[in-house]
């Protein structure tokens, strides 16, 4: 942020350019500074009051080093076989794919109603509030709800995870939609084009890169979520093996290996996403 070093705050009078001291500080800038200052103070206060009494940093980092070493430099499959792990990994990826695809389609239509430049503001606000509420409910709770209603299994995991997926993407998509230049929308509006044709013919093509990037971020999150709570719903995914290795057998080596597998998926994903984004952006 550009700031001016003027020591004299009384001279901050934009409307008095004749004075010797000319200030660059406008009112919005002052507000921004206040906000930043408040956030900084909160952070410092919070860090100062963090309870870390029983912590010996030297020991902690030493032990961190040892554990990271065990995890990342000596990964092993532990008691499981590669076949089991890979199959479970594929299950996790499938869960993530399902929740992402379902979430993306549902979210796009809701997002249109939640974008302030398309929908009336009461509707946009209402949808955004509902979405905020859905996101406030922990994923594990959604999964629980649907294992009660539908029985334990992958279906419950998918439906439970999709709720967050939708809520997140609605927010992301609607903000992308809000960022499309009002001018281009106007150009079509000015020729009498109706609402949905504008959405599909003008907005959608303009925000494809943003949509792609959001959807891929969400895929990543869905993948992480599938790993974290898929096992709770008995979806037999890699999260089950991770939970067992981590919480039951304390096998750092196997956890390390599973983390590597997850990273492998993430990197492949990142590469695909970069390629697609590049494909859409390079022509600018």
């Amino acid at each position: 942020m550009i700031e001016n070093s003027q020591p004299n705050p009384n001279a901050l009078q934009p409307s008095a350019p004749k004075s010797k001291h000319i200030s660059l500080v406008t009112k919005p800038r002052k507000i921004l500074r206040t906000v930043l200052a408040v956030l900084a103070i909160i952070s410092i206060y919070s860090l100062a009051t963090l309870n870390s009494s029983n912590l010996n940093l030297a020991d902690a980092f030493h032990s961190l080093g040892v554990n990271l070493n065990a995890m990342f430099l000596h990964p092993s499959v532990g008691q499981d076989s590669w076949g089991q792990l890979l199959q479970a990994l594929v299950t996790s990826v499938s869960l993530a794919l399902l929740t992402t695809l379902l979430g993306a389609v549902v979210a796009f239509f809701i997002a249109v109603g939640a974008a302030r430049n398309l929908a009336p503001s009461w509707l946009a606000t209402g949808i955004k509030a509902v979405m905020a509420f859905i996101r406030a409910i922990p994923t594990i709770l959604w999964v629980l709800i649907y294992s009660v209603v539908m029985g334990i299994g992958a279906s419950a995991a998918v439906v439970g995870l999709t709720f967050h997926s939708v809520a997140y993407l609605v927010k992301a998509y609607s903000e992308s939609i809000e960022e499309t230049s009002q001018d281009t929308i106007e150009a079509l509006k000015a020729s009498g084009v109706g609402f949905w044709p504008i959405v599909f013919q003008a907005i959608l093509p303009s925000i494809v890169p943003a949509l792609l990037s959001w959807t891929f971020i969400r895929f990543e999150i869905n993948f992480a979520n599938a790993v974290a709570v898929g096992a709770a719903a008995g979806a037999d995914d890699i999260g089950y093996f991770l939970f067992m290795a981590g919480n039951f057998y304390f096998n750092f080596h196997e956890v390390g290996l599973i983390v590597y597998l997850l990273l492998g998926v993430a990197i492949v994903l990142e590469l695909i996403s970069m390629k697609l984004r590049g494909h859409y952006l390079k022509h600018n």
């Binding site: 230049s181 001018d183 281009t184 106007e186 150009a187 079509l188 509006k189 000015a190 020729s191 009498g192 084009v193 109706g194 949905w196 044709p197 504008i198 959405v199 599909f200 013919q201 003008a202 093509p205 303009s206 494809v208 859409y280 022509h283 600018n284």
Partner: protein, 257 residues
């Protein structure tokens, strides 16, 4: 005939951008709105097809007050008003051809519009229009790969694709070279003459206005200071139009070329 009566517009709470604007534009004629930067030219144009809505006054197109139209009616009216923008306002990632075809969307059913289902005739017509503005070979290029001038011409083809009754142009030639300017202005004049369209153009270039317009509307600080046939415009009139509030020290003379 377009008749603008006592049009008023205030941005925010204090900025009075249009003050009791009155003028008419006839079918078959090119009407140019000229005036200094910030005078309100763009604001007038956008009020006419109600892209700016919180205004007051009357805007009569063939005796129908556009300001009174409900949503559905407004859509129909707008489909008959082509608009050409200062910043092109094309959908960048789409091809020139697709952008031109967007001119047909207003006439389509929702579903056909959503899916972009155009008839073969429409596609051929779009290509022909691109040819007319000299961009046939760029038909399949993404719009953000075209130079400014090329983009603007796509915008013009899009407006023509609407088969409009009236075309509103907001500085359509600001980024065109003289050659393209001539081609475009000729097309617009020809359309006015042959199809009896109302053509309303915001212009910075007084010379072009004087050459092509039949009717001139001069605006300064949101108020009409001149309206009349082109041959009534003289140096005194231009001086009045271009007297500027935000350049108090400068001598007021019209551009003399």
């Amino acid at each position: 005939m377009l008749k603008v009566i006592q049009l008023d517009k205030t941005y925010g709470s204090n900025k009075h951008s249009l003050k009791a604007v009155n003028f008419t534009a006839q079918p078959g004629e090119v009407t140019a709105i000229i005036g200094p930067s910030g005078a309100g030219k763009t604001t007038i144009l956008r009020s006419i097809n109600q892209l700016i809505r919180d205004d007051s006054g009357q805007i009569l197109l063939d005796d129908q007050d556009i300001r009174q139209a409900n949503k559905g009616e407004l859509r129909k009216i707008r489909h008959h008003i082509g608009m050409i923008f200062q910043n092109y306002n094309l959908i960048n990632p789409l091809t020139a051809l697709e952008n031109v075809l967007h001119g047909r969307l207003g006439a389509k059913s929702t579903v056909a519009g959503m899916l972009g289902l155009y008839s073969d005739d429409e596609k051929s017509e779009a290509l022909a229009l691109l040819d007319e503005v000299g961009l046939k070979e760029y038909a399949y290029q993404r719009c953000d790969q075209l130079s400014g001038g090329q983009q603007q011409r796509v915008g013009i083809a899009r407006a023509l694709m609407q088969h409009p009754k009236m075309i509103l142009c907001d500085e359509p030639i600001a980024s065109l070279d003289p050659k393209s300017t001539k081609i475009v202005m000729d097309i617009l004049r020809k359309l006015a003459r042959e199809k009896q369209l109302i053509i309303l153009i915001n212009l910075h270039q007084v010379d072009i206005a004087l050459e092509y317009a039949d009717h001139i509307v001069g605006i300064n600080s949101g108020a009409i200071v001149f309206e009349g046939p082109t041959d009534e415009v003289n140096d005194g009139v231009l001086q009045k139009i271009y007297r500027q509030a935000d350049q108090p020290g400068a001598v007021v003379t019209a551009n003399e070329n």
